[in-house]
């Protein structure tokens, strides 16, 4: 069985009829509430999107530790920086197009350079926001955050992982970007699936090609791997922490497969694919193909229509696997 046993993935996750669908953002909301119960230094700040970024539970349980900033993303992160200076652990939330989209310089100077442990939670990232259209579909946020010194960048693949990531961040607070998605998506990890910040996980073992992805689209990569079973032996890595990148796990896999496909709901430049390419160009030059959005904006549509239209589904991932296999040395 190619599915890595130690990953403890949900047993029936490949069966669409038995899928549990929960938004990634819910995992953050529940994780924040749980972390806050055990740590009174945790504060929450939100820019008028408390319910939809799932900070509402925290805000209701701890009104004295919640700051409603209003529609002011520059203020959101700088007020948080000031609170972190006084020993608080501030979680800030908005939509990713606004934070870190609008307030990048404030994040750079007052959080990263100033090295204050503020958590920038960017919800509604990627195409799957759907009908709201391109203004609300953050496809550049990982690139914006990944170039900043001191910043760690985490993209959970599902609800369970967002829950674990939130608890892990709260336990060891540092400048962090946590990327969340709005739409319901498959819950394919479990409470027993390992999660360590900075440690990539092999979910599917193979020897012909390595697919590296993060976020809900990783599920599509697993489906693609399973569809290729018997024809191509695919390894699938969950690179939930894009920065700091887990060199060892990636290199161990790629030394074996010598071919890579990256999968992300983001521009193919600057995101996860770019991060992996930078690593491999230096350490282990390898043919690569990139699944993602290619230098264009999104548009309105249902989430499923958009994923199909922009090639996030298993068929397009398989096409990229076949392409990279032809280039394999």
């Amino acid at each position: 069985m190619p599915i890595t046993p130690s990953a403890n993935l949900r047993k029936t996750f490949l069966d669409a009829s038995k899928l549990e669908m929960v938004p990634v953002r819910n995992g953050f909301g529940e994780g924040l509430l749980e972390a806050a119960k055990n740590n009174d230094k945790i504060v929450g700040l939100c820019a008028d999107l408390t319910e939809s970024t799932r900070m509402e539970g925290f805000a209701q349980a701890f009104p004295e530790r919640f700051v409603e900033i209003g529609v002011a993303e520059q203020n959101l992160v700088t007020v948080a920086s000031g609170m972190a200076h006084e020993g608080k652990i501030p979680f800030t939330s908005s939509y990713a197009t606004f934070s870190p989209g609008r307030n990048w310089e404030q994040i750079r100077t007052t959080i990263c350079y100033n090295n204050q442990p503020v958590i920038v939670v960017g919800s509604h990232a990627g195409l799957s926001v759907g009908p709201d259209g391109a203004t609300h579909q953050a496809l550049e946020d990982v690139a914006l955050m990944r170039v900043l010194p001191n910043m760690q960048v985490i993209v959970p693949a599902d609800y369970q992982q967002a829950h674990k990531a939130t608890l892990a961040i709260a336990k060891d607070p540092k400048p962090t970007y946590l990327r969340l998605a709005r739409e319901k998506s498959p819950v394919f990890t479990t409470t027993k699936t390992p999660f360590t910040i900075g440690k990539a996980d092999v979910y599917y073992s193979g020897k012909d090609v390595t697919i590296i992805g993060a976020g809900p689209v990783l599920y599509e990569a697993l489906i693609a791997a399973d569809m290729l079973k018997g024809k191509v032996s695919v390894e699938v890595i969950n690179l939930h922490t894009i920065k700091p990148i887990d060199k060892a796990t990636i290199l161990r896999s790629v030394k074996k497969t010598r071919a890579v496909v990256t999968v992300e709901e983001h521009q193919i430049t600057g995101g996860l694919g770019g991060a992996v390419a930078e690593l491999l160009a230096k350490e282990l030059p390898t043919p690569m193909e990139f699944v993602g959005v290619c230098d264009r904006f999104g548009e309105s549509g249902s989430p499923m229509e958009l994923w199909e239209h922009f090639g996030m589904g298993p068929d397009n991932i398989i096409d990229h696997v076949n392409k990279v296999l032809k280039r394999k040395v």
Binding site: V67, Q74, V79, K88, E105
Partner: protein
Amino acid sequence: MAVMTPIQDHKALALKANQIRKDILISLNKAGSGHSGGPLGMADIFTCLYFNALKHDPAKPNWEDRDRILLSNGHICPVLYASMAHAGYFPVEELTTLRQLGSRLQGHPHRTALPGLETTSGPLGSGLSQGAGMALAAKMDGVNHHIVVCGSDGEQQEGNVWEAVLLAAKYKLDNLIYIIDRNFIQIDGNTEDIMPLEPIKDKYEAFNWHVIEIDGHNYSQIIDAVTEAKNYKRKPILINAITVPGKGVSYMEDDYTWHGKPPSDEELATALEELEAVRTQIEEGTYEY
């Protein structure tokens, strides 16, 4: 050194400010770049803050009960550095490392480089919101120190300032004091030509702030304003301080071209002569402060 004992004698404060002005210019001349006008204009206010009005302890820069001093317009940091050095945060000799490779005195203040700095700053407009965050945290924790943010009139053009102004009023942050260096200059010229700001007082009062207007070179007014601000309840406080940029050096005063450059060797010599003459006047009691 224990908690700084306030210097009550205004003459002693004026002499301190005079020395700080000299050291600002010496450090800028050595650096070969940096801003002259703003630091000289704020020297009296910084002297009053560091040597009279605020509670702090240079031997314990992270003392929890200290008043926080934030510099939002980071480019005037030579006055911050000189004040900190004279207060005892680091050796005065270190001032001449300003802007050099490896120096703790970065061209714009960097918190993690130098104990005693509360923030990293430079990009304008973000100091007040960080101060508001500190003030909010202090309210949550029920502690009583004050947060004093020094900023500029030019940075009022930044939207981030007004986001913070709204928030500070909403949360009635009466532990937050914002001092605007109202010197009417910015890099491109006069502030009122570039983007009219007046009436500042009416604007802040309309935003539910308490406003105190002072002459930023009059020690009684500066100290009284901080005392009033510290005792004011239920609103954040703006001290709008009218200052003369380049104060103390005749050829720099009120000339916006001195906003962003340092003195040459000859200019420094002239400036130090003028400041020495001021020192004599202070000693003789013929200088107003």
